[in-house]
Symmetry: C2
Subunit: 215 residues, 2 copies
DNA sequence: AAGGTTCGTGGTAGCCTCTAACGAAACCTT
DNA sequence: AAGGTTTCGTTAGAGGCTACCACGAACCTT
Protein backbone atom coordinates (compact mmCIF):
# COMPACT_ATOMS: atom_id res chain seq x y z
CA UNK A 1 0.00 0.00 0.00
CA UNK A 2 1.08 3.60 -0.39
CA UNK A 3 1.36 2.88 -4.06
CA UNK A 4 3.21 5.66 -5.77
CA UNK A 5 2.67 3.98 -9.09
CA UNK A 6 0.65 5.75 -11.72
CA UNK A 7 -2.04 3.14 -11.45
CA UNK A 8 -5.50 4.48 -11.72
CA UNK A 9 -6.41 6.35 -14.93
CA UNK A 10 -7.52 9.23 -12.81
CA UNK A 11 -4.10 9.62 -11.30
CA UNK A 12 -2.55 9.31 -14.71
CA UNK A 13 -4.71 12.09 -16.09
CA UNK A 14 -4.10 14.24 -13.06
CA UNK A 15 -0.34 14.06 -13.22
CA UNK A 16 -0.50 14.65 -16.96
CA UNK A 17 -2.50 17.84 -16.58
CA UNK A 18 -0.30 18.96 -13.71
CA UNK A 19 2.72 18.46 -15.92
CA UNK A 20 1.22 20.46 -18.75
CA UNK A 21 0.32 23.29 -16.43
CA UNK A 22 3.83 23.32 -15.09
CA UNK A 23 5.26 23.32 -18.58
CA UNK A 24 3.14 26.27 -19.64
CA UNK A 25 4.13 28.07 -16.48
CA UNK A 26 7.78 27.38 -17.24
CA UNK A 27 7.43 28.84 -20.72
CA UNK A 28 5.57 31.85 -19.43
CA UNK A 29 8.15 32.52 -16.75
CA UNK A 30 10.99 32.10 -19.21
CA UNK A 31 9.64 34.97 -21.29
CA UNK A 32 7.89 37.30 -18.88
CA UNK A 33 9.52 36.54 -15.55
CA UNK A 34 8.17 34.90 -12.46
CA UNK A 35 6.31 37.93 -11.17
CA UNK A 36 4.10 38.03 -14.27
CA UNK A 37 2.97 34.42 -14.05
CA UNK A 38 -0.81 34.18 -14.43
CA UNK A 39 -2.81 31.08 -13.67
CA UNK A 40 -5.71 32.56 -15.56
CA UNK A 41 -3.67 32.96 -18.72
CA UNK A 42 -2.43 29.39 -18.46
CA UNK A 43 -5.97 28.13 -18.06
CA UNK A 44 -7.19 30.04 -21.09
CA UNK A 45 -4.18 28.79 -23.03
CA UNK A 46 -5.16 25.24 -22.18
CA UNK A 47 -8.74 25.80 -23.22
CA UNK A 48 -10.30 25.72 -19.82
CA UNK A 49 -11.67 28.38 -17.59
CA UNK A 50 -9.78 30.12 -14.80
CA UNK A 51 -10.67 28.40 -11.54
CA UNK A 52 -10.31 24.94 -13.07
CA UNK A 53 -6.58 25.12 -12.45
CA UNK A 54 -7.13 25.24 -8.73
CA UNK A 55 -8.05 21.56 -8.86
CA UNK A 56 -4.43 20.90 -9.71
CA UNK A 57 -2.53 23.55 -7.84
CA UNK A 58 -3.91 24.96 -4.62
CA UNK A 59 -2.42 28.36 -5.23
CA UNK A 60 -0.10 30.39 -7.39
CA UNK A 61 2.55 30.04 -4.71
CA UNK A 62 2.38 26.27 -4.83
CA UNK A 63 2.94 26.27 -8.58
CA UNK A 64 5.91 28.61 -8.27
CA UNK A 65 7.33 26.53 -5.45
CA UNK A 66 7.11 23.48 -7.68
CA UNK A 67 8.98 25.33 -10.41
CA UNK A 68 11.63 26.40 -7.92
CA UNK A 69 12.06 22.80 -6.81
CA UNK A 70 12.38 21.72 -10.43
CA UNK A 71 15.00 24.39 -10.99
CA UNK A 72 17.02 23.17 -8.02
CA UNK A 73 16.72 19.60 -9.23
CA UNK A 74 17.71 20.53 -12.75
CA UNK A 75 20.79 22.34 -11.51
CA UNK A 76 21.75 19.47 -9.25
CA UNK A 77 21.29 17.04 -12.14
CA UNK A 78 23.43 19.11 -14.49
CA UNK A 79 26.23 19.41 -11.98
CA UNK A 80 25.99 15.79 -10.90
CA UNK A 81 26.18 14.41 -14.41
CA UNK A 82 29.08 16.71 -15.24
CA UNK A 83 30.83 15.61 -12.10
CA UNK A 84 30.17 11.98 -12.91
CA UNK A 85 31.75 12.56 -16.31
CA UNK A 86 34.93 13.56 -14.57
CA UNK A 87 34.55 17.31 -14.66
CA UNK A 88 36.95 19.33 -12.56
CA UNK A 89 36.15 22.63 -10.90
CA UNK A 90 36.61 24.63 -14.10
CA UNK A 91 34.36 22.36 -16.10
CA UNK A 92 31.81 22.53 -13.31
CA UNK A 93 31.89 26.30 -13.52
CA UNK A 94 31.20 26.26 -17.21
CA UNK A 95 28.42 23.75 -16.67
CA UNK A 96 26.89 26.17 -14.22
CA UNK A 97 27.15 29.08 -16.62
CA UNK A 98 25.72 27.09 -19.51
CA UNK A 99 22.85 25.98 -17.33
CA UNK A 100 22.16 29.55 -16.26
CA UNK A 101 22.27 30.98 -19.78
CA UNK A 102 20.04 28.22 -21.07
CA UNK A 103 17.16 29.68 -19.10
CA UNK A 104 18.07 32.83 -17.18
CA UNK A 105 14.72 33.08 -15.45
CA UNK A 106 15.19 29.59 -14.08
CA UNK A 107 18.48 30.67 -12.54
CA UNK A 108 16.82 33.76 -11.12
CA UNK A 109 14.07 31.56 -9.70
CA UNK A 110 16.72 30.15 -7.40
CA UNK A 111 19.16 32.97 -6.91
CA UNK A 112 17.09 36.01 -7.75
CA UNK A 113 15.26 38.44 -5.54
CA UNK A 114 13.23 36.54 -2.98
CA UNK A 115 9.72 37.48 -1.97
CA UNK A 116 9.91 38.77 1.64
CA UNK A 117 7.03 36.63 2.85
CA UNK A 118 8.05 33.43 1.11
CA UNK A 119 9.82 30.72 3.04
CA UNK A 120 11.38 27.78 1.26
CA UNK A 121 10.15 24.30 2.20
CA UNK A 122 12.59 21.90 3.80
CA UNK A 123 12.95 19.65 0.77
CA UNK A 124 14.42 22.55 -1.17
CA UNK A 125 17.30 22.95 1.25
CA UNK A 126 17.76 19.22 0.89
CA UNK A 127 18.30 19.40 -2.88
CA UNK A 128 20.44 22.49 -2.49
CA UNK A 129 22.67 20.63 -0.04
CA UNK A 130 23.25 17.99 -2.70
CA UNK A 131 24.52 20.69 -5.02
CA UNK A 132 26.80 21.85 -2.25
CA UNK A 133 28.09 18.32 -1.76
CA UNK A 134 29.05 18.05 -5.43
CA UNK A 135 30.82 21.37 -5.18
CA UNK A 136 32.68 20.29 -2.06
CA UNK A 137 33.77 17.06 -3.75
CA UNK A 138 35.23 19.03 -6.62
CA UNK A 139 36.95 21.46 -4.29
CA UNK A 140 38.53 18.76 -2.17
CA UNK A 141 40.21 17.33 -5.26
CA UNK A 142 42.13 20.52 -5.77
CA UNK A 143 45.43 21.17 -3.98
CA UNK A 144 45.19 24.12 -1.66
CA UNK A 145 48.38 25.96 -0.77
CA UNK A 146 46.85 29.10 0.67
CA UNK A 147 47.51 30.02 4.29
CA UNK A 148 44.72 29.70 6.82
CA UNK A 149 42.63 32.84 7.18
CA UNK A 150 40.53 34.02 10.14
CA UNK A 151 37.48 33.01 8.16
CA UNK A 152 38.89 29.49 7.84
CA UNK A 153 39.10 29.34 11.62
CA UNK A 154 35.55 30.59 11.85
CA UNK A 155 34.39 27.93 9.42
CA UNK A 156 36.03 25.21 11.49
CA UNK A 157 33.44 26.00 14.17
CA UNK A 158 30.53 26.61 11.84
CA UNK A 159 30.45 23.77 9.37
CA UNK A 160 27.01 22.31 10.04
CA UNK A 161 26.02 23.14 6.47
CA UNK A 162 28.73 20.82 5.11
CA UNK A 163 26.58 18.03 6.52
CA UNK A 164 29.31 15.68 7.58
CA UNK A 165 31.41 16.18 4.50
CA UNK A 166 35.08 15.41 5.16
CA UNK A 167 36.47 18.71 3.97
CA UNK A 168 38.97 20.96 5.67
CA UNK A 169 37.93 24.50 6.56
CA UNK A 170 40.11 25.74 3.70
CA UNK A 171 38.12 23.59 1.30
CA UNK A 172 34.84 24.85 2.72
CA UNK A 173 36.12 28.36 2.22
CA UNK A 174 37.09 27.59 -1.35
CA UNK A 175 33.67 26.18 -2.11
CA UNK A 176 31.95 29.24 -0.71
CA UNK A 177 34.20 31.56 -2.70
CA UNK A 178 33.59 29.52 -5.81
CA UNK A 179 29.88 29.78 -5.34
CA UNK A 180 29.77 33.46 -4.46
CA UNK A 181 32.15 34.66 -7.14
CA UNK A 182 30.59 32.78 -9.99
CA UNK A 183 27.19 33.93 -8.81
CA UNK A 184 28.48 37.49 -8.70
CA UNK A 185 29.51 37.51 -12.34
CA UNK A 186 26.55 35.46 -13.50
CA UNK A 187 23.88 37.41 -11.73
CA UNK A 188 25.23 40.74 -12.95
CA UNK A 189 25.33 39.35 -16.46
CA UNK A 190 21.83 37.91 -16.32
CA UNK A 191 20.44 41.09 -14.80
CA UNK A 192 21.83 42.95 -17.78
CA UNK A 193 24.28 45.11 -15.87
CA UNK A 194 26.99 44.40 -18.42
CA UNK A 195 24.93 45.31 -21.46
CA UNK A 196 26.20 48.49 -22.93
CA UNK A 197 29.57 48.13 -21.28
CA UNK A 198 31.02 46.55 -24.36
CA UNK A 199 33.13 43.74 -23.01
CA UNK A 200 32.37 40.05 -23.31
CA UNK A 201 30.79 38.59 -20.16
CA UNK A 202 32.11 35.16 -21.04
CA UNK A 203 35.66 36.43 -20.87
CA UNK A 204 35.03 38.10 -17.56
CA UNK A 205 33.57 34.86 -16.25
CA UNK A 206 36.62 32.97 -17.45
CA UNK A 207 38.93 35.53 -15.87
CA UNK A 208 37.19 35.25 -12.51
CA UNK A 209 37.36 31.50 -12.75
CA UNK A 210 41.07 31.58 -13.60
CA UNK A 211 41.77 33.82 -10.67
CA UNK A 212 39.78 31.49 -8.47
CA UNK A 213 41.79 28.47 -9.55
CA UNK A 214 45.19 30.16 -9.57
CA UNK A 215 45.40 31.70 -6.15
CA UNK B 1 11.84 80.85 -18.13
CA UNK B 2 12.34 77.27 -17.16
CA UNK B 3 12.02 78.17 -13.49
CA UNK B 4 12.93 75.14 -11.43
CA UNK B 5 12.24 77.05 -8.21
CA UNK B 6 9.40 75.98 -5.99
CA UNK B 7 7.54 79.18 -6.71
CA UNK B 8 3.85 78.79 -7.00
CA UNK B 9 2.04 77.24 -4.03
CA UNK B 10 0.58 74.75 -6.41
CA UNK B 11 4.00 73.49 -7.39
CA UNK B 12 5.00 73.43 -3.75
CA UNK B 13 2.02 71.30 -2.84
CA UNK B 14 2.56 69.06 -5.82
CA UNK B 15 6.17 68.28 -5.02
CA UNK B 16 5.20 67.79 -1.39
CA UNK B 17 2.55 65.23 -2.23
CA UNK B 18 4.86 63.54 -4.71
CA UNK B 19 7.48 63.27 -1.99
CA UNK B 20 5.00 61.79 0.47
CA UNK B 21 3.84 59.24 -2.06
CA UNK B 22 7.42 58.28 -2.76
CA UNK B 23 8.16 57.98 0.94
CA UNK B 24 5.18 55.71 1.54
CA UNK B 25 6.21 53.66 -1.45
CA UNK B 26 9.72 53.38 -0.05
CA UNK B 27 8.39 52.15 3.29
CA UNK B 28 6.07 49.69 1.61
CA UNK B 29 8.82 48.31 -0.58
CA UNK B 30 11.20 48.03 2.35
CA UNK B 31 8.81 45.67 4.09
CA UNK B 32 6.96 43.81 1.36
CA UNK B 33 9.30 44.05 -1.61
CA UNK B 34 8.97 45.91 -4.86
CA UNK B 35 6.63 43.44 -6.52
CA UNK B 36 3.98 44.00 -3.86
CA UNK B 37 3.88 47.78 -4.20
CA UNK B 38 0.29 48.97 -4.52
CA UNK B 39 -0.68 52.47 -5.56
CA UNK B 40 -4.15 51.83 -4.26
CA UNK B 41 -2.86 50.99 -0.80
CA UNK B 42 -0.73 54.12 -0.72
CA UNK B 43 -3.70 56.24 -1.73
CA UNK B 44 -5.90 54.79 0.99
CA UNK B 45 -3.07 55.26 3.46
CA UNK B 46 -2.93 58.93 2.55
CA UNK B 47 -6.67 59.32 2.88
CA UNK B 48 -7.50 59.71 -0.76
CA UNK B 49 -9.08 57.50 -3.30
CA UNK B 50 -7.28 55.26 -5.73
CA UNK B 51 -7.04 57.07 -9.06
CA UNK B 52 -6.08 60.34 -7.35
CA UNK B 53 -2.47 59.18 -7.27
CA UNK B 54 -2.34 59.14 -11.03
CA UNK B 55 -2.31 62.94 -10.93
CA UNK B 56 1.15 62.64 -9.41
CA UNK B 57 2.59 59.56 -11.01
CA UNK B 58 1.51 58.51 -14.46
CA UNK B 59 1.92 54.83 -13.70
CA UNK B 60 3.20 52.31 -11.22
CA UNK B 61 6.27 51.90 -13.36
CA UNK B 62 7.08 55.59 -13.19
CA UNK B 63 6.94 55.51 -9.39
CA UNK B 64 9.18 52.48 -9.23
CA UNK B 65 11.59 54.04 -11.71
CA UNK B 66 11.77 57.09 -9.47
CA UNK B 67 12.60 54.86 -6.51
CA UNK B 68 15.27 53.09 -8.52
CA UNK B 69 16.82 56.41 -9.45
CA UNK B 70 16.79 57.45 -5.81
CA UNK B 71 18.47 54.19 -4.89
CA UNK B 72 21.22 54.77 -7.45
CA UNK B 73 21.66 58.33 -6.23
CA UNK B 74 21.75 57.24 -2.60
CA UNK B 75 24.43 54.66 -3.34
CA UNK B 76 26.47 57.13 -5.35
CA UNK B 77 26.18 59.66 -2.53
CA UNK B 78 27.27 57.16 0.09
CA UNK B 79 30.28 56.09 -1.92
CA UNK B 80 31.20 59.63 -2.92
CA UNK B 81 31.13 60.98 0.61
CA UNK B 82 33.13 58.02 1.84
CA UNK B 83 35.62 58.55 -0.94
CA UNK B 84 35.81 62.25 -0.16
CA UNK B 85 36.58 61.37 3.46
CA UNK B 86 39.63 59.51 2.25
CA UNK B 87 38.27 56.00 2.18
CA UNK B 88 40.38 53.38 0.46
CA UNK B 89 39.05 50.38 -1.39
CA UNK B 90 38.44 48.39 1.79
CA UNK B 91 36.54 51.21 3.43
CA UNK B 92 34.54 51.66 0.27
CA UNK B 93 33.59 48.00 0.39
CA UNK B 94 32.31 48.29 3.93
CA UNK B 95 30.42 51.43 2.98
CA UNK B 96 28.75 49.44 0.24
CA UNK B 97 27.83 46.61 2.59
CA UNK B 98 26.50 48.97 5.25
CA UNK B 99 24.43 50.76 2.64
CA UNK B 100 23.03 47.47 1.39
CA UNK B 101 22.17 46.13 4.84
CA UNK B 102 20.54 49.40 5.82
CA UNK B 103 17.76 48.70 3.35
CA UNK B 104 18.11 45.39 1.53
CA UNK B 105 15.16 45.99 -0.74
CA UNK B 106 16.76 49.21 -1.93
CA UNK B 107 19.85 47.26 -2.92
CA UNK B 108 17.71 44.68 -4.68
CA UNK B 109 15.92 47.50 -6.48
CA UNK B 110 19.21 48.10 -8.28
CA UNK B 111 20.84 44.71 -8.40
CA UNK B 112 17.92 42.35 -7.98
CA UNK B 113 15.94 40.42 -10.54
CA UNK B 114 14.97 42.75 -13.37
CA UNK B 115 11.57 42.72 -15.04
CA UNK B 116 12.12 41.37 -18.58
CA UNK B 117 10.16 44.15 -20.23
CA UNK B 118 11.62 47.02 -18.25
CA UNK B 119 14.35 49.17 -19.78
CA UNK B 120 16.25 51.64 -17.66
CA UNK B 121 16.15 55.31 -18.70
CA UNK B 122 19.35 56.96 -19.79
CA UNK B 123 19.77 59.08 -16.68
CA UNK B 124 20.07 55.93 -14.62
CA UNK B 125 23.10 54.73 -16.53
CA UNK B 126 24.47 58.23 -15.99
CA UNK B 127 24.30 57.97 -12.21
CA UNK B 128 25.57 54.42 -12.32
CA UNK B 129 28.59 55.58 -14.31
CA UNK B 130 29.37 58.03 -11.52
CA UNK B 131 29.48 55.13 -9.08
CA UNK B 132 31.80 53.36 -11.47
CA UNK B 133 34.04 56.41 -11.66
CA UNK B 134 34.39 56.51 -7.88
CA UNK B 135 35.25 52.83 -7.89
CA UNK B 136 37.83 53.32 -10.62
CA UNK B 137 39.44 56.19 -8.71
CA UNK B 138 39.81 53.97 -5.69
CA UNK B 139 41.21 51.12 -7.74
CA UNK B 140 43.77 53.26 -9.52
CA UNK B 141 45.21 54.29 -6.17
CA UNK B 142 46.12 50.71 -5.40
CA UNK B 143 49.36 49.20 -6.62
CA UNK B 144 48.77 46.34 -8.98
CA UNK B 145 51.45 43.71 -9.39
CA UNK B 146 49.44 41.06 -11.14
CA UNK B 147 50.43 39.92 -14.62
CA UNK B 148 48.29 40.90 -17.57
CA UNK B 149 45.55 38.40 -18.35
CA UNK B 150 43.73 37.76 -21.63
CA UNK B 151 40.77 39.58 -20.19
CA UNK B 152 42.99 42.62 -19.57
CA UNK B 153 43.86 42.62 -23.24
CA UNK B 154 40.21 42.33 -24.11
CA UNK B 155 39.37 45.25 -21.84
CA UNK B 156 41.99 47.40 -23.55
CA UNK B 157 39.79 47.27 -26.62
CA UNK B 158 36.46 47.45 -24.82
CA UNK B 159 36.70 50.27 -22.34
CA UNK B 160 33.91 52.56 -23.54
CA UNK B 161 32.15 52.11 -20.21
CA UNK B 162 35.11 53.66 -18.38
CA UNK B 163 34.03 56.88 -20.07
CA UNK B 164 37.44 58.41 -20.61
CA UNK B 165 38.77 57.46 -17.21
CA UNK B 166 42.57 57.24 -17.25
CA UNK B 167 42.84 53.73 -15.90
CA UNK B 168 44.93 50.88 -17.22
CA UNK B 169 43.15 47.72 -18.34
CA UNK B 170 44.43 46.01 -15.20
CA UNK B 171 42.69 48.65 -13.11
CA UNK B 172 39.49 48.25 -15.08
CA UNK B 173 39.70 44.55 -14.46
CA UNK B 174 40.24 45.12 -10.77
CA UNK B 175 37.22 47.39 -10.56
CA UNK B 176 35.03 44.86 -12.30
CA UNK B 177 36.23 42.08 -10.01
CA UNK B 178 35.67 44.27 -6.98
CA UNK B 179 32.14 44.99 -8.09
CA UNK B 180 31.24 41.44 -9.06
CA UNK B 181 32.73 39.70 -6.04
CA UNK B 182 31.25 41.99 -3.45
CA UNK B 183 27.93 41.75 -5.21
CA UNK B 184 28.23 37.98 -5.18
CA UNK B 185 28.59 37.78 -1.41
CA UNK B 186 26.14 40.56 -0.71
CA UNK B 187 23.38 39.32 -2.96
CA UNK B 188 23.59 35.78 -1.60
CA UNK B 189 23.46 37.17 1.90
CA UNK B 190 20.51 39.48 1.20
CA UNK B 191 18.63 36.73 -0.61
CA UNK B 192 18.95 34.63 2.53
CA UNK B 193 21.05 31.87 1.02
CA UNK B 194 23.40 31.91 4.00
CA UNK B 195 20.71 31.63 6.63
CA UNK B 196 20.83 28.24 8.21
CA UNK B 197 24.42 27.69 7.17
CA UNK B 198 25.68 28.91 10.50
CA UNK B 199 28.65 31.05 9.56
CA UNK B 200 28.84 34.81 9.82
CA UNK B 201 28.24 36.56 6.47
CA UNK B 202 30.24 39.56 7.64
CA UNK B 203 33.33 37.39 8.04
CA UNK B 204 32.83 35.88 4.62
CA UNK B 205 32.50 39.34 3.17
CA UNK B 206 35.70 40.41 4.92
CA UNK B 207 37.48 37.30 3.67
CA UNK B 208 36.46 37.94 0.09
CA UNK B 209 37.57 41.53 0.43
CA UNK B 210 40.94 40.50 1.89
CA UNK B 211 41.51 38.10 -0.94
CA UNK B 212 40.60 40.81 -3.39
CA UNK B 213 43.12 43.23 -1.92
CA UNK B 214 45.88 40.70 -1.36
CA UNK B 215 46.31 39.13 -4.74
C1' DA C 1 -14.88 88.87 -9.61
C1' DA C 2 -14.25 85.83 -13.99
C1' DG C 3 -11.70 82.36 -16.22
C1' DG C 4 -8.70 78.70 -16.73
C1' DT C 5 -6.04 75.28 -14.54
C1' DT C 6 -5.58 71.65 -11.49
C1' DC C 7 -7.26 68.39 -7.95
C1' DG C 8 -10.04 64.73 -6.13
C1' DT C 9 -14.05 62.12 -6.80
C1' DG C 10 -16.92 58.22 -8.38
C1' DG C 11 -17.71 55.21 -12.21
C1' DT C 12 -16.03 51.80 -15.29
C1' DA C 13 -13.23 48.45 -17.90
C1' DG C 14 -10.21 44.82 -17.63
C1' DC C 15 -7.01 42.21 -15.38
C1' DC C 16 -5.79 39.09 -11.43
C1' DT C 17 -6.30 35.30 -7.28
C1' DC C 18 -9.21 32.43 -5.05
C1' DT C 19 -13.90 30.49 -2.92
C1' DA C 20 -18.39 28.46 -3.43
C1' DA C 21 -22.06 25.98 -5.46
C1' DC C 22 -23.71 23.40 -9.11
C1' DG C 23 -24.08 20.08 -13.15
C1' DA C 24 -21.71 16.55 -15.60
C1' DA C 25 -18.59 13.23 -16.63
C1' DA C 26 -15.75 9.51 -15.41
C1' DC C 27 -14.54 5.94 -12.44
C1' DC C 28 -15.03 2.02 -9.14
C1' DT C 29 -17.82 -1.23 -7.08
C1' DT C 30 -21.29 -4.60 -6.89
C1' DA D 1 -24.50 -3.59 -16.75
C1' DA D 2 -26.24 -0.25 -13.00
C1' DG D 3 -25.72 2.57 -9.29
C1' DG D 4 -23.15 5.36 -6.15
C1' DT D 5 -19.21 8.14 -5.42
C1' DT D 6 -15.55 10.75 -6.46
C1' DT D 7 -13.62 14.10 -9.29
C1' DC D 8 -13.78 17.49 -12.91
C1' DG D 9 -15.03 21.82 -15.10
C1' DT D 10 -18.25 25.25 -15.27
C1' DT D 11 -20.41 29.79 -13.88
C1' DA D 12 -21.01 33.28 -10.30
C1' DG D 13 -18.94 36.25 -7.24
C1' DA D 14 -15.90 38.54 -3.63
C1' DG D 15 -12.04 41.42 -3.27
C1' DG D 16 -7.77 43.10 -5.05
C1' DC D 17 -5.17 45.64 -8.52
C1' DT D 18 -3.90 49.24 -12.66
C1' DA D 19 -5.53 52.62 -15.35
C1' DC D 20 -8.88 55.70 -18.06
C1' DC D 21 -12.71 58.81 -18.22
C1' DA D 22 -15.89 62.61 -16.98
C1' DC D 23 -17.56 65.52 -13.65
C1' DG D 24 -17.65 68.85 -9.72
C1' DA D 25 -14.86 71.53 -6.67
C1' DA D 26 -11.05 74.09 -5.19
C1' DC D 27 -7.56 77.10 -6.44
C1' DC D 28 -4.53 80.57 -8.60
C1' DT D 29 -4.16 84.03 -11.98
C1' DT D 30 -5.66 88.03 -14.35
Amino acid sequence: MAETDTKTPRERYRTLVRAEIKERAREQIATTGASALSLNAIAKQMGMSGPALYRYYASRDELITELIKDAYRSLADALRSASAAGADLAALAHTLRAWALEDPQRYLLIYGTPVPGYHAPDDITLISSETMAILLDACIALPSDSPATPFDAHLADHRDWADGHPASPAVLHRALSFWARLHGVLSLELAGHFTGMGFDPAMFFAAELDDLLAH
